[in-house]
């Protein structure tokens, strides 16, 4: 998000929080969130897709609500109103194509209204048919989860994305030779998918709280956290949503202001400055000398932290104005004395998601075997698999796979190491000085391990990543 967009979003939140407060709050949050997902979606080379992708986000979200909502609540009047608001807002956005100037709410001129209405109608009919023909049991939910994962993979696996782009270009009679991965830059979908997967799985497990359509859609595309998280849990989110909003207290305003200002500073001053000297595909080939290569790597390590945690601060500060206390995503991760603690404090909501929906269930399943694997093998398998999946969340490429492997192995090694040395470390670290020494040396080692892992994350090619490793250690 550009700084101008962030300030507009924050101004809207401040206005509603201070002036309107409870009046029309749920509709404001719903409509604002819908507007924002269209507004932030960048223009795409694929004609009309900067409109169709946010529209698809809405359709997927509404479908997901329908299959997760208790049957008796689906047809409540409020849900029909919310459906009308969602469709109406999208239609109004589509109608901006008739304005005499370029639309400021969509990446490019929206597609023809007739086609949009046809697609809208088709989506409605599909929903009705699904209702009539299907039972939303556990199997159906599993199929939905798999379907969502397939869509996710289609935009995360470069080869697949390319072929999807090729197909869409063929469908829309655009140059096939121009097909490329960037054609399908679907803003915010990684977060949307994970929020929806959480609700589908919780519904399957029978622990999803009832939420009406407006609440569900607002949760999935909540505008302050749409592009960069955090990934909230729906049961926590709707508590804040349903809590009556009094006039914001000075504390709320101050905390919101502090977080927001700190976020702007982290992102637009620190991170953007570090970006000038951070490791990237170009300078990785140009840099000479191990010392300078380390400096570029340190710059990248700090940049990614300040960038990401800055956006989180902005999201937390903005939502606080609207009465939401979004979960924290970062807690001084680079100061943690080991890799396990690093991952407990880096992108916390994502790691909690994976812990809840992958690591814990898989561990339970492995333990349930008649002849379970030895404990170290089980730890290795689950940690590596979890971290590789977290890598895939960023993109299904060799480098993200290596990054996941790097951290999976690191977590395993730390787990084994701490088992071996825990007693000895406790016996040695009996004075505050020794304890501090252990903590500082642990933090330094952890930071450098994480920083070396960023090489795979920052660069797109494995061979260039290995070249950087060799430069760092004076081998090139």
């Amino acid at each position: 998000m550009a700084i101008g967009q962030i300030l507009i979003v924050a101004a809207a939140a401040l206005f509603w929080g201070l002036v309107m407060r409870e009046r029309g709050r749920s509709h404001f949050l719903l409509i604002a969130s819908i507007l924002v997902i269209f507004w932030l979606q960048p223009a795409l080379p694929l004609r009309g897709f900067d409109f169709w992708l946010p529209a698809a986000t809405l359709v997927i979200t509404v479908f997901s609500w329908y299959i997760t909502a208790p049957e008796e609540t689906r047809r409540e009047r409020g849900n029909w109103v919310a459906a009308a608001v969602i469709a109406g807002t999208a239609l109004l956005l589509n109608l901006t194509r008739f304005l005499p100037f370029d639309s400021i709410l969509t990446g490019a001129r929206p597609p023809q209204t007739g086609i949009f209405l046809f697609v809208l109608g088709a989506a409605g009919i599909l929903l009705l048919l699904t209702t009539r023909l299907m039972r939303f049991n556990a199997a159906f939910l599993s199929i939905s989860i798999i379907g969502l994962i397939i869509v996710f993979l289609a935009i995360k696996v470069p080869a697949l994305t390319y072929w999807v782009s090729y197909g869409l270009r063929s469908l829309t009679h655009q140059s096939l030779a121009q097909a490329k991965v960037a054609d399908l830059r679907w803003l915010g979908f990684s977060y949307v998918a994970f929020r929806i997967l959480h609700t589908l799985r919780d519904r399957q497990m029978g622990r999803l709280p009832a939420a009406n359509l407006a609440e569900y859609v607002t949760y999935v595309i909540f505008f302050p956290s749409f592009t960069a998280g955090p990934i909230d849990r729906i049961e926590r989110f709707i508590q804040d949503l349903r809590r009556p909003q009094d006039k914001p207290k000075n504390d709320d305003l101050l905390i919101a202001g502090q977080r927001f200002t700190m976020g702007l500073f982290k992102k637009f001053v620190v991170a953007d400055a570090l970006a000038l000297i951070a490791l990237n595909d170009t300078n990785a080939l140009q840099v000479h000398g191990a010392g300078w290569t380390w400096i570029l790597l340190y710059a990248y390590s700090l940049q990614i932290y300040f960038d990401f945690s800055g956006y989180t601060d902005i999201a937390i500060g903005t939502s606080r104005l609207l009465g939401f206390q979004l979960p924290e995503n970062f807690s001084a991760p680079y100061l943690k004395p080991n890799l396990t603690q690093f991952w407990n404090n880096w992108h916390m909501t994502l790691t909690q998601w994976f812990r809840a929906y992958f690591f814990n269930p898989v561990t339970r399943w492995l333990r349930s075997w008649n002849r379970p694997l030895p404990m170290p093998a089980m730890i290795l398998l689950t940690q590596v698999a979890t971290m590789v999946l977290i890598g895939f969340w960023h993109g299904v490429t060799w480098n993200f796979t290596l990054w996941g492997l790097w951290h999976g192995l690191g977590l395993f090694i730390h787990n084994r190491w701490s088992d071996l040395t825990r007693a000895r470390a406790a016996a040695w670290g009996t004075t505050p000085l020794r304890k501090n020494l252990l903590a500082v040396s642990g933090a330094l080692i952890t930071f450098h391990y994480v920083a070396l892992g960023w090489i795979f994350f920052a660069l797109s090619s494995t061979s260039v990543s290995l070249l950087v490793f060799s430069k760092l250690f004076g081998l090139k």
Partner: protein, 368 residues
């Protein structure tokens, strides 16, 4: 935190501090370019900062002369006693468009390991990519505080037209410095020329100068990349070569043959440069240019010049130098057509080598 904090009080205090700080900043105008990480943390740059593609060139164009010179290797410390210090002044051909630092004229002269007047020759590239004698005089005035033993000033007719003098953004954004040259050395220009950027009170505040401040900060950060890569411009794999098939246009700007009116040329800026150096030897060089063998080569030498205008200019420079006793080297046709890159004045490394060899041959005779 207590609930009795008055939000309005915070706003009032914040606003008051904002006004106060900006008032002090606007009145004081601290020398924000004089502190530099170059020559302290990072090696000084081999040429003045200039860049149109910062992210790839690790370089940027800014107008703060203090910051520009502070980032240059010439600012690295006291001049050694055994150094014969040479300043190179000129346009993009001296700065070295498309050339690596070691391939530029200064780089090639330095690698020749020359000595003059019993001292080691060290050449500093103070060229800057815009063509204007006034810009050259401005940079020369800044360069003089580094105690040169010789100034080599490369120029060409395109630097002379009056309308080109303030067109350089570096000049347009340094009106105060130019007023200093007007007062001290008689540089002629119109201080009210609309081409000048004249800062308002807001422009002198911190928010008003945010761009300039950010540029100085970015210049320091790019010091990391300069030190780490030695790169200070982009080197495209292919570029459009200098034009050799030319229009049959006999005009030089608005001038038609046969009169090249000296009043339309900034001869005063050239003379001002000689006053600025105050006795330090100057070698004035008419820089090499492409002589087109292509279409209409009988009418024009190249994209810039019709033959008649350039011939008049050469005559004028020879006469002017003779009358004033200037050391003048006319190297207009030194470099063959194949040794130009993307402009009629931009040389290949081989072209620069030819030029360096010719200039090196006259250096020993340039003692004070």
């Amino acid at each position: 935190m207590k609930n009795d904090i008055k939000f309005i009080n915070i706003l009032i205090k914040g606003f008051t501090l904002f006004i106060l700080l900006n008032g002090i900043f606007a009145l004081w105008q601290p020398g924000k370019g004089q502190v530099s990480a170059y020559n302290v943390i990072f090696p000084g740059r081999q040429r003045l900062p200039f860049g149109e593609n910062s992210a790839q060139a690790y370089n940027l164009s800014l107008f703060n002369l203090d910051a520009m010179f502070a980032s240059h290797v010439i600012n690295s410390g006291q001049k050694p006693g055994d150094e014969f210090r040479v300043l190179l002044i000129g346009d993009s051909s001296v700065w070295g468009t498309l050339l690596k630092p070691e391939e530029t004229l200064s780089g090639q002269l330095n690698s020749a390991n020359l000595s003059a007047c019993g001292k080691q020759v060290n050449v500093y590239n103070l060229g800057y990519p815009t063509i204007s004698l006034t810009k050259d005089a401005l940079l020369l005035s800044y360069g003089m505080k580094y105690q040169p033993d010789l100034v080599i000033w490369l120029t060409t007719l395109e630097a002379f037209p009056l309308e080109k003098q303030i067109a350089s953004p570096l000049v347009a954004n340094n009106r105060e410095a130019l007023l200093g040259l007007q007062g001290s050395y008689g540089l002629e220009f119109d201080p009210q020329d609309p081409a000048f950027v004249q800062p308002s009170a807001w422009d002198r505040s911190i928010p008003g100068q945010r761009r300039a401040l950010a540029d100085v900060f970015r210049l320091q950060l790019y010091g990391v990349m300069w030190a780490a890569t030695g790169i200070d411009q982009t080197y495209p794999a292919d570029y459009t070569p200098a034009q050799t098939d030319l229009e049959a246009d006999p005009k030089f700007r608005e001038a038609e043959p046969p009169v090249l009116d000296e009043k339309s040329l900034a001869l005063n800026a050239l003379e001002t440069g000689f006053r600025i150096v105050d006795g330090t030897p100057v070698l004035l060089v008419n820089e090499p240019m492409l002589i087109s063998p292509g279409a209409n080569g009988d009418i024009r030498y190249n994209f810039f010049y019709p033959r008649w205008a350039y011939d008049r200019y050469r005559d004028m420079m020879a006469g002017l130098s003779g009358r004033n006793g200037w050391h003048y080297l006319d190297l207009w046709d030194l470099v063959p057509v194949d040794e130009f890159t993307n402009s009629a004045i931009h040389l290949t490394p081989n072209g620069e080598s030819l030029l360096a060899g010719r200039i090196a041959s006259v250096l020993p005779g340039m003692c004070k």
